[in-house]
């Protein structure tokens, strides 16, 4: 059994292990970086430390257009990983759920390739189907960033 943070980006619902979440904040002002992939929205100031802000829907291939986060429920989810931290914006944080890994369903092969690679499975929650993301997608995206150069 593991705790997951469930969040929405557009009509889609995703979840990541709560352990991988450092904090949840209001959406920040982002400074774009030149010559970087569209899904790297830029950098922001998190209490004096520069933090990268990414668009995971675009980064993982679920969407092609970067959308500026809007609305009162919009939040920045700050992730912590072994050697890199980054944040991403979500349209809403839906809450924390406890899921048994055994209950996860295999993702359909119609899922975009990158998303499928970092998907641990699909959970059927009350609110609907949720794509369970492996927090490792962060280092995966960082690798893509390195290759883009």
């Amino acid at each position: 059994m593991q705790e997951y943070l469930v969040f929405s980006i557009g009509p889609e619902r995703f979840a990541i292990a709560l352990d991988a979440v450092r904090e949840i904040r209001r959406p920040p002002r982002v400074t774009p970086l030149p010559e970087s992939p569209v899904w790297l929205r830029g950098v922001t100031n998190l209490r004096g430390v520069i933090l990268a802000v990414i668009d995971i829907a675009v980064g993982l291939g679920a969407r092609t257009e970067v959308s500026e986060p809007k609305g009162r429920k919009c939040r920045l989810v700050v992730m912590r990983d072994v050697d890199c931290d980054a944040g991403f914006c979500v349209d809403a944080v839906d809450g924390v759920v406890t899921v048994d890994e055994a209950d996860l369903m295999t993702p359909p092969d119609t899922l975009p390739e990158l998303l499928r690679r970092w998907c641990e499975g699909i959970a059927a929650l009350e609110a609907g189907l949720v794509v369970m993301l492996s927090p490792e997608f962060l280092s995966g995206l960082q690798e893509r960033l390195g290759m883009a150069k």
Partner: protein
């Protein structure tokens, strides 16, 4: 009274600090008397230094330090009293003793080491040179070994009864004609505790200072949040206020009145809170700024701290190399951040060693060249804005540019026909592995090469330039920021976004009208007082939203290369704390870091060297010719400004000429003679070593009737006449330079 420092580690730190200060003073004093001869005040001062080290060492139980310092004091006192004459040998031993002391304290050695025993013996022997006086001093030395208190007696007496440094005086019976020595009064009690060193300084671990600076930096960010909260409270106040006005009192007047009263309280409270917090935020911002400034000052130290050891280094090295050099150090009271100081100490040593080893000639060679036998090396430090410029200048033989070029060609860093500019020269000298000459002196044992200078300069985002003149000397100019934590940034706008550029890379800001922009070989260039610079738009370099192309132009310079870069707007200058881009993003093209503004927004700090490289790419890319066709007309292009040389080269090559270049008249003559068969010469007028007019006369003097075109920024009739008088065939001023005209002119002059 003897205490082992092991019980009191903090005492050891104080001791270490004191010894380090005293040794600094001792070393400096010894060099002074070695150079300028015996000076009683200096000897008194440094005897006190030795005495003080001895006292503290004894207090803390550092037997070896105590003994060495004692033996030094004996010698110094003998020198002061004229009982011992000053020789280089004595100075050597004393300086060596300083080194031994430094090592002992550095290692925290309590007991004697091989080095400390040896140096005590050396000092004793040096002391024995003063004859019978020494005969009495020797027992005193023996006494030291037996028990330090007895030695203290001798030294204290010597110090408190100046001029009577005759050990005999300590034994009343041996001086019957003197009045009996009175019983020592308590103030001269030989076993008195060592006077505490009063000093207005506190020793701190550097890391503590940087922790403080970081903490202050963090608090800046906090107060930005407070400000935002004040704004939100203000918003809330306005919302409550407007809601109250629109309240419907109809349905239940009593409850409505209660609600109004409650809301009124909330509203008033909100008003007070938001205004108060706003005030507090403003006040705290000012306090934080002041605090930040003071915290930064804590990490600042005089440049003298890294420059002071240089005379000693020079002295030892001169002896080893059998050279005479006057080393002048002028630190200009400049202060630098400790992190910067630490990183320039080695490069400075390397530059001084280089000047002594390679720059200054031996006395014989100097005299043969009509120079005074003693060379001179001058090290100056000056504050220039947020930077410190350190010059190491020698009056030696100058860099052998040809040898550097040969070395560069051998190593494959240069192509054989490539000319070498001042910037290239610098970059070659600082390459790792540039100097391959095996050296057997201890100089090489110091493990220095000029490549460490380049590494340090790069790490500090500073600059290094070399100016050299054959036979006249070489000057290295090292530019480093005063601090790593804060840089002065020029903030500019491009594509609607704000960026910062380190002010160190910005030479000037100019307005350039589109009429002044010309296109040379597809590259937009602008003529700035005779210097032709490639012109680019920042928005193109960083692929940003396009600007309207009418904004100010910033001239960026680094390592002798420049670039004119148009921005949308110039905002101003501000001190910025440069941070890295975080853990996710590992380097973005043209971005050196980021900084947080007072309002919490992040701005990117651009990397000038990366912008320069990208911006100049178009200017330096030459049309690549598959091979040389000697059927093509050959033109020798002579100009000391590499950009112009390259510009003319690309124009002429594009027009079908075979171009060879030279950086001045002298090089042109050499090239002309080495490779016969030039069909024309295009030359600048003003150049170092040999100017264009001299070059033309010289060629004509050799019977060379080759067509000669003067290309210069000078436009006066007199200059034109001088050029034509010298035998030039045509004169083209850069001010009305037209590439078509030049090409047509040359085509008309050379055989088809």
């Amino acid at each position: 009274m003897t205490q082992r420092w092991g019980d009191r580690p903090e005492l050891f730190e104080v001791f270490r600090g004191e010894v380090s200060d005293r040794l600094g003073s001792l070393g400096e004093g010894l060099l002074a008397i070695e150079t300028d001869g015996i000076s009683t005040p200096v000897l008194e001062r440094i005897s006190r230094d030795a005495h003080s080290i001895k006292g503290s060492a004894k207090l803390l139980g550092f037997t070896a330090v105590c003994d060495v310092a004692h033996a030094m004091e004996e010698v110094l006192v003998a020198l002061r009293d004229g009982a011992l004459s000053l020789t280089a040998g004595v100075c050597d031993v004393l300086l060596d003793a300083c080194d031994v002391l430094a090592r002992l304290v550095e290692d925290g050695s309590v007991d004697h080491t091989a080095a400390s025993t040896a140096i005590c013996a050396h000092l004793d022997r040096a002391g024995k040179a003063f004859g019978e006086v020494a005969a009495a001093a020797a027992p005193a030395r023996a006494a030291t070994e037996a028990g330090a208190d007895a030695a203290e007696t001798t030294a204290e007496r010597a110090a408190t009864v100046p001029g009577t440094r005759d050990p005999v005086a300590e034994v009343p019976l041996a001086a019957p004609h003197q009045a009996p020595v009175p019983a020592p009064d308590p103030s001269t009690d030989p076993v008195q505790p060592v006077r505490p060193v009063r000093s207005a300084t506190v020793r701190l671990e550097t890391s503590k200072v940087y922790d403080l600076i970081d903490a202050v930096g963090e608090s800046t960010i906090g107060q930005v949040t407070v400000k935002e909260h004040a704004d939100r409270l203000g918003d809330l106040f306005r919302r409550v206020d407007s809601r109250m006005r629109r309240l419907d009192h109809g349905a239940d007047p009593v409850r409505a009145a209660q609600a109004v009263e409650l809301l009124g309280h909330v509203r008033d409270e909100l008003a007070v809170l938001s205004f108060d917090i706003d005030d507090i935020a403003d006040a705290s911002r000012k306090q934080v700024e002041a605090l930040q400034e003071r915290a930064m000052a804590l990490a600042t130290f005089p440049a003298a701290s890294v420059m002071a050891p240089l005379p000693r280094l020079a002295r030892d090295l001169c002896r080893e190399l059998s050279k005479q050099v006057d080393l002048v150090v002028d630190d200009g009271d400049v202060e630098l951040d400790k992190q910067v100081l630490e990183r320039i100490a080695e490069p400075l040593r390397a530059l001084v060693i280089n000047a002594l080893d390679h720059g200054v000639e031996g006395p014989a060679e100097r005299e043969a060249a009509g120079k005074p036998p003693a060379g001179s090396v001058t090290i100056t430090a000056r504050q220039r804005g947020g930077q410190v410029v350190i010059e190491v200048a020698d009056d030696g033989r100058g860099v052998d540019v040809d040898a550097v070029r040969r070395r560069g060609v051998t190593a494959g860093w240069l192509s054989a026909e490539e000319e070498i500019s001042a910037a290239d020269l610098g970059s070659l000298l600082f390459r790792p592995g540039f100097s391959t000459a095996p050296r057997s002196t201890t100089t090489s044992g110091r493990g220095v090469g000029l490549d460490i200078v380049r590494d340090a300069v790069d790490a500090l985002k500073g600059g290094i330039e070399v100016h050299t003149e054959p036979g006249r000397g070489t000057t290295f100019v090292l530019t480093v920021p005063t601090t790593l934590s804060i840089v002065v940034g020029v903030t500019v706008v491009s594509g609607g976004r704000t960026y910062a550029l380190p002010v160190s890379a910005v030479t000037e800001v100019v307005q350039v009208h589109e009429d002044d922009v010309r296109t040379v070989a597809g590259q937009r260039v602008v003529d700035l007082r005779g210097e032709v610079l490639p012109l680019v738009d920042l928005c193109d370099l960083i692929s940003g939203a396009p600007d309207d192309g009418s904004g100010p132009v910033i001239v960026l310079s680094s390592a002798g290369r420049s670039l004119a870069m148009r921005v949308e707007d110039l905002v101003g200058q501000r001190e910025i704390v440069v941070k890295n881009l975080g853990t996710f993003v590992r380097g973005v093209r043209h971005v050196g870091g980021a900084s947080i503004l007072g309002n919490g927004d992040v701005i990117l700090v651009l990397d000038p060297s990366s912008l320069l490289a990208a911006g100049r790419l178009g200017a330096t890319s030459r049309p690549s010719l598959p091979e040389r066709h000697h059927e093509r007309p050959r033109v020798l292009v002579v100009d000391d400004a590499a950009p112009i040389r390259e510009m003319v080269r690309s124009i002429l090559e594009a027009a079908g000429f075979d171009v060879t270049t030279a950086a001045d008249g002298a090089e042109a003559i050499a090239t002309y003679e080495a490779e016969a068969g030039f069909d024309a010469v295009v030359s600048d007028v003003q150049m170092p070593r040999m100017d264009g007019v001299e070059l033309c006369s010289s060629l004509r003097g050799r019977g060379q009737a080759v067509p000669f075109v003067m290309l210069t920024s000078l436009a006066s009739e007199e200059d034109r006449r001088r050029g034509l008088d010298a035998g030039a065939d045509a004169y083209v001023t850069k001010a009305d330079f037209d590439q078509v005209e030049l090409v047509e002119l040359l085509r008309s002059m050379v055989p088809a």
